[in-house]
């Protein structure tokens, strides 16, 4: 169901060697495993705060992030943690964040998947007012253009966020100035409980790109390679000065909006269809085996690695102390030095 509208350049990028393909699988499986384990912990009452499941959308998240270079920037939402992991964030510190520990990326100032690691991996710390990061992505892209750097900004939002004025402002502005940015919409067909048909009146999101004068492409989020190809093409176009692209990647949100939401508004048949035949992780595993890229041993080794890394991350998070309570008022101003020095490591480590 790939509907390509006005593609501008042929995809290039680094060739997809077997190793890179297995790397893609690793991130897909990591995203899935992380999602399942964290949900379990949440339901056991051992995970503070909220979880926002990205299950079923791993194809989108890994596909787009895999097309980025280390110094390209990524502006994700709370649901796109797998994309941030694909960009290279450290699972230990990600988990410390969920438990509000000092070694989390935001030193406890924000929690769960509101993560960002700007100086390490150029990802923007997620904010809830979607798509509030879209205009910021415009600014980053503007800086690349201004300084003559061959870097690209990529922003992800969901189908619901496309109703917000900021979405239109940001895309329009990026088109006017022909900025090096890729606009990704993770269309998992439900914005909390609102289905696409109640969110916008056009059949697809991709076709709205024409209204801004930029190319738009719609891809099947269950096929990580299709997503990756579209993303690589868009990233190359931006890097070469060809301006922005809009990518709509279609999947289904398998779980509720957040951990507390049972998502009864998703029709059962639709969910079953997606879980059976449009599971991006399963589909890619099957593809790798069929193509002879990965053996049982390879898959098992990746699985074992993921399980070990998760357990290490969990232990790391539990052992990391809480922030120093007295530091709550620090860090407003650059001059107070909170962020340019080692933080106070407060008392206590509760078990999660």
């Amino acid at each position: 169901m790939a509907t390509k509208l006005e593609p501008d350049a042929a995809p290039s990028g680094r060739p997809l060697t077997d190793d890179r393909l297995k790397e893609i699988y690793y991130y897909l499986a990591l995203g899935r495993y992380f999602d399942e384990r964290m949900e379990a912990l949440y339901r056991q009452g051992r995970l503070p705060g909220a979880i926002y499941s990205g299950r079923g959308q791993e194809g989108t998240h890994v596909g787009v992030a895999f097309a980025l270079e280390p110094d390209d920037s990524l502006f994700p939402t709370h649901r796109d943690l797998t994309a941030q992991l694909t960009k290279g964030l450290d699972l230990n510190r990600v988990m410390a964040q969920f438990w509000g520990r000092i070694d989390g990326y935001l030193r406890g100032r924000d929690g769960n998947s509101h993560i960002g690691d700007w100086y390490g991996h150029r990802t923007y710390a997620v904010m809830s007012h979607l798509p509030i990061a879209y205009p910021v992505a415009v600014g980053a892209a503007l800086a690349y253009q201004r300084k003559g750097e061959r870097r690209v900004a990529m922003a992800i939002c969901g189908d619901g966020a496309t109703s917000n004025g900021r979405w239109h402002e940001a895309i329009n502005t990026s088109a006017v100035f022909r900025l090096p940015v890729v606009w990704v919409v993770n269309n998992n067909q439900f914005a909390y409980s609102t289905p696409n048909a109640k969110e916008f009146a056009v059949p697809t999101i991709a076709e709205r790109a024409a209204a801004y004068g930029i190319p738009g492409v719609r891809v099947d989020g269950a096929d990580v390679l299709e997503v990756y190809a579209a993303a690589q093409e868009a990233v190359d176009r931006a890097r070469d000065g060809g301006g922005p692209t809009l990518i709509e990647s279609v999947s289904l949100r398998w779980r509720g909006h957040a951990g507390h939401d049972p998502a009864k508004y998703v029709p059962r048949e639709l969910l079953e269809h997606y879980m059976l035949s449009k599971d991006p992780v399963k589909n890619f595993e099957t593809y790798l085996r069929e193509q002879g890229v990965a053996t049982d041993d390879d898959i098992d080794a990746i699985t074992a690695r993921i399980e070990r890394e998760f357990d290490e991350g969990f232990a790391f998070a539990q052992a990391s102390p809480f922030p120093e309570p007295g530091d709550v008022t620090k860090g407003w101003w650059v001059e107070d030095g909170y962020w340019t020095s080692d933080p106070g490591r407060g008392g206590g480590t509760e078990t999660g």
Binding site: S73, Y105, L106, R107, R109, D110, G116, W118, Y119, Y124, A125, M127, H129, I132, A133, Y134, P135, V136, A137, V138, G139, A140, A141, L142, A143, Y144, R146, K147, A153, G165, R166, E169, A170, N172, T173, V176, G331, W332, W333, V334, E335, Y338, W339, T340
Partner: protein
């Protein structure tokens, strides 16, 4: 980007702002601000400006007239009418090493970018430790018959967000020195230029390229012994006029100009109260929840045993700024109102 030849300003100026001082070398508040921008743009290539109609047109108030000829359209960037995105662009480009100065055509339109200002700009460093050396500047304030969409004093809204240094200078030299400091500061700032003052007040303004006024420092604009009038913005000039009139009657009013309203200089305020024992807090934003409400509470809390009378506020009522001249004059504190308030306070 192709460059366009630009007519140097509709009024036939178009040269560097310093060429616009009068024959005595005095600069208006507006020209002083333009000089600050020009000098900081010359000093640091990373500084650039963005906003609506600031490039080719030279700005709605002509502050940036002539800039595009000197610095080019990349650094004097005309944007679409999209305030959220203007702020977002400033944030994103600051995160990638530039130092943006974003202009809003009127301070009233900052609320069209409210989310990006209060959710992103104000909080990002606290949350994630990335400095945002962004300056938002806009003409604010009333008294010019421009009614409620072109006269606002928005500083309480944005002071509440935290994380943004907010400046409201009253004099040309202060405006120049503070704006230069704001551009060089690594924190987000909001620089509110009171439009009533733009062309009405002028003085000798320093020309040294490193002339700076420290952020968060207040200044005593008139010394006195009987009552302290703590104020900022256009009200400073009304307070000074009232003080002159009061002096004729033997009442000595001290006028303290906050200059920066968040974070503000408590020390200077407290020292003044210690001297006079009487506090009148005068401000132009609505009386409820204004900057002056904070200052009044602080004085009552920290200077209690120095007070010989209650702390009093004088500010407009909570209604949108009206248009018709008698209505706007009734809305704003006038010189006579300030004098009457000081008299009442001194007689308490």
């Amino acid at each position: 980007m192709s460059t366009q030849t630009v007519e140097s300003g509709a009024a036939g100026h178009g040269a560097e702002p310093r060429g616009k001082r009068d024959d005595d070398g005095q600069a208006t508040y507006l020209i002083a601000i333009a000089e600050a921008l020009w000098e900081e743009m010359e000093r640091d290539e990373r500084v650039y400006m963005l906003g609506e109609d600031i490039g080719v047109y030279g700005g709605a108030f002509k502050v940036t007239e002539g800039f595009i000829d000197r610095f080019g359209p990349d650094r004097v960037m005309d944007t679409p009418i999209a305030e959220e995105t203007i702020v977002g662009m400033a944030v994103g480009s600051a995160m990638e090493g530039l130092r943006p100065v974003a202009e809003f055509q009127y301070a009233d339109f900052m609320s069209s970018g409210f989310d990006e200002i209060t959710t992103v700009l104000s909080r990002y460093h606290y949350r994630a430790g990335v400095p945002l050396p962004v300056v938002l500047r806009a003409p604010s304030g009333g008294g010019v018959r421009a009614s409620s969409f072109h006269s606002i004093n928005p500083e309480p809204w944005y002071a509440y967000a935290g994380g943004i240094k907010i400046m409201c200078p009253a004099f040309p030299s202060d405006a120049k020195g503070l704006l230069k400091s704001a551009v060089r500061d690594d924190n987000p700032s909001m620089f509110l230029e009171h439009k009533w003052i733009y062309r009405r007040i002028k003085e000798q303004v320093p020309t040294e390229p490193d002339f700076l006024v420290p952020i968060s420092s207040a200044a005593v604009k008139r010394e006195g012994t009987d009552v302290s009038v703590i104020t900022y913005g256009a009200m400073v000039h009304k307070a000074l006029e009232a003080a002159e009139s009061l002096a004729q009657r033997g009442v000595s009013a001290e006028v303290v100009d906050l200059r920066t309203v968040y974070p503000y200089d408590e020390e200077t305020v407290l020292r003044s109260i210690e001297k006079t024992a009487h506090a009148l807090v005068l401000y132009e934003s609505y009386r409820f929840l204004g900057i002056g409400s904070e200052v009044a509470a602080m004085i009552a809390e920290k200077a209690f045993e120095h007070l010989d009378a209650p702390v009093v506020r004088l500010a407009p009522p909570n209604v949108p700024v009206p248009f018709s001249p008698p209505l706007e004059d009734a809305f704003l504190p006038q010189v006579a109102d300030i004098e009457a308030a000081v008299d009442r306070l001194a007689a308490w």
